[in-house]
Subunit: 451 residues, 2 copies
């Protein structure tokens, strides 16, 4: 008798991950049949033509095959050679050995300096773990915090489904809190309190709150006051904070700036709030999704709990070394005056400029369509427009019909969560500008006919 | 209030992973103090001087930075360029984009051809998943199979602690079955039946049996008859099989050969036994632990269960692309007549020759010590010698004292499991030959005094 579906647990069966769900499977089928598909379902920049930064790839190539320093001495600028040598001195055994469980110490020190420079706050390199993308870090911390089926984790609605999927897998309870669509998807203290009260009434022991800033799928960028409010809320109720800050470089509006939870936590001197912050090589202007690199950093975590994090990470041995190397390249970019700087600055600037243009183009284009409303895309790489649907139709029906008729692949809002009675979809801003224009045009026509 | 140890769940608290446990932490402390430590605790070949294969690294460097084809045309042999081009054609977007959840299709096709060539059996590329090392694949399948706290997974004693740790994390029950130390650590049907009877008596619903071949930590290599016996046992009791075959290239005795579970499953036509087989880039002669590459392949799994595997893998997006690339380099080595072949064959041969020498040297050396008995090391990269201890001492005490007095870092047998009343330690065969000689000499002296 083989394994049967009936033998599997509800933990597995109930896990959902819409970003790669049935709509995407159908898109792959259509593509196989020769249809053109515009993949707007996933934040995968290089699959839509974004180029990798030369700085990053030159360092990776040299670290993979250091003999190139002799075999092709003219192929690499001096600062790349120096960076590769620094990384290899830190790993001691090149790219081919497991590092210690937290990741290569000298790379964690580089991350600590990056945070120090960004936030002007001290960082303990041993409170930094290099991870296979931010996802793995988030899962480690959720696994740590969920101690039983009564434990709840507050998650924004709409959210990125890594959170719901992982909480389901770890058999905890997802405690939804709503983001205020009418107020640019900001968080409001009354909405947080309401969510907590409801969870407690249901017997849930709420352990932590997850915040995604800049927001996925919302595109909102939180300001210092909003972050201080969230820290105050966490403090008042004894919650840990998971701050998903993977889009910290994706800020598009003049005057906006990324503010980290770590910085505000330090400012408000909240020494009794545990904070876990996540960053990634996959987003920003690097867009190196394939390398699976990232890190998390924690604050106000007692030593005995920190030892448990180290143990959990040890079972996974360590993050992949090319990913650790890419994390180094991310936090130690070339500085003005270094040979690689002009190219680096040009490549970075061009990517962020086009993302900014596309964010404006897409939001404005969507808002011109009757029956679609989209908040300004201030950050991250997505729009989450509200759509009006004919009676009896769901956002899933809508996304499927959109795919079948236009080849545009988006994810139904229900995969991220949405207020009852509303419907949305998530689309990325990543397709090349001319494709974004086509998306807007085709969507307008589709939406008109669908109603 | 910060997160406290008392808030964590027993799932997390009870998880243990001895390979990176307290002994190793102490070793790192001693090293910081300037002591020389010989790390024999973990199968991490390149950390002990094993060189990466040029074939693998040249392909990785080119895939990371394809411009090198123009910038350094003389630095790469033609077959490396061709392999890199084939990989890049398959990934479509280089190394920087998420691939589909199973991994790049063309790389999975290369894996399928490798299995076909090795076993002369057909393989469905869609039943292959590329993973971040074999560990991640094992965890996916254990997560799939454990449906509740009554579910049990049969695990060899001694075992590799990834199994016990993952089963604890997924809240299942570990069902130990003993390997027969007196019979070269082989599996015996009566011992398997005894284990199953005992588990059932305790109310455990046994779902699967894990087999590690070649054995970690035992060094045993199973023959066809032993594998057929295990398949017969699984068939009789409706169990799935997890075949951990990451050491399939590490076979040292003349006349021995690796036989895969997939091949024997095909021969005995056991269509009603689900099989999950695991392989890795981290072991064998590649030894690329840092790249975190590997794959699993399944057979006799119904479509609806396969869909659940795909869903679980989707939450993790995909394995890292350099790891996927290394898997390609592993399953598509250069063939005789190709420009890279002579160097590849020389490097591979030298690594396997020294491992063979060290396996013999270590086992013979250990057996010369009174109070230590070691089975022949037929495969893998470890010895698991039996030791006699003074009354009142544990194998943990022994390993700690060994470390403190000699700088030799091994893992206590209790971290892998052992029959009651016996004591062991696990050591790798990986240190350079002269260090192995020193290990044997220092161990002999230590053991004499410790008794």
């Amino acid at each position: 008798m083989t394994v049967r579906l009936a033998d599997l647990g509800k933990t597995v069966l109930e896990t959902e991950y819409a970003v790669r769900g049935p709509i995407v499977a159908r898109a792959a089928e259509l593509e196989k049949q020769g249809r053109e598909v515009i993949y707007c379902n996933i934040g995968n920049p290089q699959s839509l033509g974004q180029k990798a930064l030369t700085w990053n790839r030159q360092i990776l190539a040299l670290c993979e095959y250091p003999e190139l320093m002799e075999r092709a001495p003219g192929a690499f600028p001096a600062d790349v050679v120096e960076a590769a040598k620094a990384i290899l001195a830190g790993t001691k055994h090149g790219m081919g050995a497991y590092s210690e469980s937290r990741g290569v110490r000298s790379i964690r020190e580089a991350v600590a300096e990056f945070i120090l420079e960004r936030d002007h706050i001290g960082v303990d390199p041993d409170a930094i773990f290099l991870t296979d993308g931010a996802s793995k870090g988030v899962q480690t911390i959720l696994r740590l915090l969920i101690s039983g089926p009564q434990d709840g984790i507050m998650v924004p609605i709409p959210q990125y489904p890594l959170y719901s999927a992982s909480i389901t897998l770890f058999e905890g309870r997802m405690v939804p809190y709503f983001l205020d669509e009418a107020n640019g998807w900001k968080l409001s203290r009354p909405m947080l309190e309401a969510s907590l009260v409801q969870a407690k009434a249901g017997g849930t022991r709420v352990k932590a709150i997850c915040v995604i800033n800049p927001g996925n799928p919302t595109g909102a960028v939180l300001d210092e006051a909003n972050i201080a409010m969230i820290i105050g809320f966490a403090k008042a109720h004894g919650l840990s904070i998971l701050a998903d800050e993977v889009y910290q470089e994706n800020i598009y509006l003049p005057g906006d700036a990324f503010v980290s939870f770590a910085k505000v936590l330090h400012q408000v001197e909240a020494k009794d709030v545990s904070l876990f912050s996540f960053h990634s090589c996959s987003k920003g202007f690097l867009g190196e999704c394939g390398v699976r690199g990232g890190y998390f950093e924690y604050r106000n975590v007692p030593d005995d709990v920190a030892a448990q994090i180290l143990k959990l990470q040890s079972v996974n041995l360590c993050a992949n070394l090319p990913g650790q190397t890419a994390a180094y390249a991310m936090v130690r970019p070339p500085k003005p005056g270094m040979p690689s700087y002009p190219q680096y600055a040009a490549e970075k600037g061009a990517i962020l400029d086009t993302l900014r243009q596309r964010a404006i183009l897409l939001a404005e284009g969507l808002n011109r369509i009757e029956g679609i409303t989209c908040n300004v895309i201030a950050g991250a790489m997505y729009a989450f427009p509200s759509i009006t649907l004919p009676p009896g139709r769901t956002d899933f029906d809508y996304a499927l019909a959109l795919l079948e008729q236009t080849g545009i692949c988006v994810v139904p809002g229900s995969g991220f969560g949405q207020a009852e009675g509303t419907a949305h979809f998530r689309t990325t801003i990543l397709p090349p500008t001319e494709k974004i224009q086509q998306v807007v045009k085709d969507l307008a026509e589709f939406h008109r006919n669908y109603r």
